[in-house]
Amino acid sequence: MRMTKLSSRFLSPVLMVGFAAAALHAQTTPAVVLPPTVEGDWVRTDENHSGSFGELTSSYKQAELTELGKTMLSRMAARPAPVAAENTPLRTGQPLVTNNRTCVFNQNQLGLEYDSEGFHSVMNKEHITFVQERGWQRIVYLDNRKLADSFVRSPTGSGYSVGHIEPNGTLIVETTDLTQGRVTAGGFRTPETRVKQEYIPAADGKNLKLVFTWSDPKIYVKPHVYEFTFERMEAGTFARETFCDATDPLWGQSIVPPPQQ
C-alpha cells in the first residue's frame, strides 16, 4: 500500500512516540530473564535406564565403609522384603505393592534422598522449603545461621540444614542431626554425620543435578559421593496429594496392571 504524504507526516511522529513509548515500557518492565533456580517442581530421572526402582541406583559406586561403619550397617534391620519379586510379571489385577508398611503418620520429616515422586520447592529470603506429595517437608535455612552442635536438637529424618545460593543458581546445603539410617549405595549415617548437597540447575533451568557428599570419618574411609538427576516439570503443573489413609485398602498398592491383550 502506498502511503500519502499527509499520512506519512502524521504517522511519523505517531510511530516515533510509539517507539519511544515501547522503549520506555521496555525499560520499566524489562523482559524477565530468570536465573537458573532450584525453585519449582522437579521429577527424578533414570539416567542409567535401569527401568525399575530396585535398579535405579545399582550402578552407583558403593560406599567405602570403615570397620565401624560396616558393623553399624550390619546391625540395621533388613528392609522388608518386597511382596512381589523384582521384575516378576504381575498377574492381571494383582496389585504391585509399592509400600508394604501400614500407613503411619510419622512426624512430617522429608528425607534428603527424593524418590521417584520428585519434589517441589518454594524459596523466600530466609529459607527454602522442600515437599514431596506425601505431606512431608524439609526446610533449609538461607539466612547465614550456623549448623548447631548435634546435641542441641533431637535428630530427625530431615536433619538440620543450612545453605546458600551461588551466583550461578547452585544451592549448597549442609545437613547434620539426621536420624540413624541407611544411605544410598551402601552408605550409613548417624546424627553426627554431615552431608553436603549441591543442587545444580542447568543454565536453561530445565534440568537439575543433585550431588551428595557424605562425610564421617568414623563411618566412611573417604567421602561417599553420588548424584541424582531431575527434570523440571512443565509449566502449569501442580502437586498432587498422596493421602496416608489407614482405611484405604489400596494404600501402598499404587499400580494395578490392566488386563493384558
Binding site: E39, T102, V104, G135, F243, A246
Partner: protein
Amino acid sequence: MKRNSVFSAIFIFSLALVPHVLAQGPPPATPAAAFDPHDLSGYWDLGPDGRSVPNAVLAAGAGKATLQEMEDGDKISERWCRPLGIPAAMDSGRPIAITQGRWETMINFEANSSPRHIYFRREHVNPDIFDPSSVGDSIGNWEGDTFVVETIGFHDKNGRMMIPGGGFRTTKSKLVERFKLIRNGQMLSVTTTWTEPSVYQTPHTYEFRYTRIPGNYEPRPAVGCDPWDEERAAYVERTFSPALKKAAEAAVVKPGTEVSVKTGK
C-alpha cells in the same frame, strides 16, 4: 596563632549548636519497621483470641442427622490418623509456615496435613485431571494489599469435614480466603468464606487473626500418629458410642488382607 583561631572557630560553632540540640528534646520514638504488605512469608500463630467465628446459617441439606454423620466421620478420621486438610489444618494448635515464592505460596503445618500449594494463576487446574484432595486446588492473586485465594476440588472423604461456626465441606464447596497483613505486618488476617448452597443459606464467613512469630523461630516436627497403636485407639474411642465404634472398626481393612481390585479394560 592560626591554630588558635581554628580552635576558637570550632568552639564558637559548637556553642552555637547547643541551643539547637537542646531544643530538639528527647530523640523521637523509633519509627515502626517498614514491612512489605505483599509478602506473607513467616511463621504465624493463632492465639486464643484469634478467632471471630459467627454461627453459620445452615441450609436444609445440613440437617441434624447429616451434621451428626459428618461429625462421626471426622471422629473416624481422627481414629485412623487421616491427615487434617482444610479447614482443620489452619487451626491445628501449632503455628503455620507461609513461604511466598516465585510461582506459588506454600503453607506448611506442624501437624498431620498435606501442605497447601497456592499457585499464582488465574485458572484452576482442569477438573478432568485434578484429583480431589484434602486441601483442594488453590489459586491466589493480589487485589491491592489483599491476597485472595480461591480453592475448589475438595475430596469427599479425605481431611476433616467440619467447618468452624457450623456446616461442613463437600466436593462442591468453594472456599475464598482473603489474606491481609495488618498491625504493621505483625498480624495476619485471614477472612474465610465458604459457599455451598446445599450446606449454607448464605455464604459463611469468619476471620482468623494470626500473630507473627519472630524470625528465629524453627518449626518442629508434627506429633506422630499411629493408627495401629491399640492403647491410643482405646483412648480415642473412649467417647465413641457403640455404633460409632463399630463403624470405625468397619472403616478399615486390616494390613495383610487380600483386596480384590477391579481393573479396567
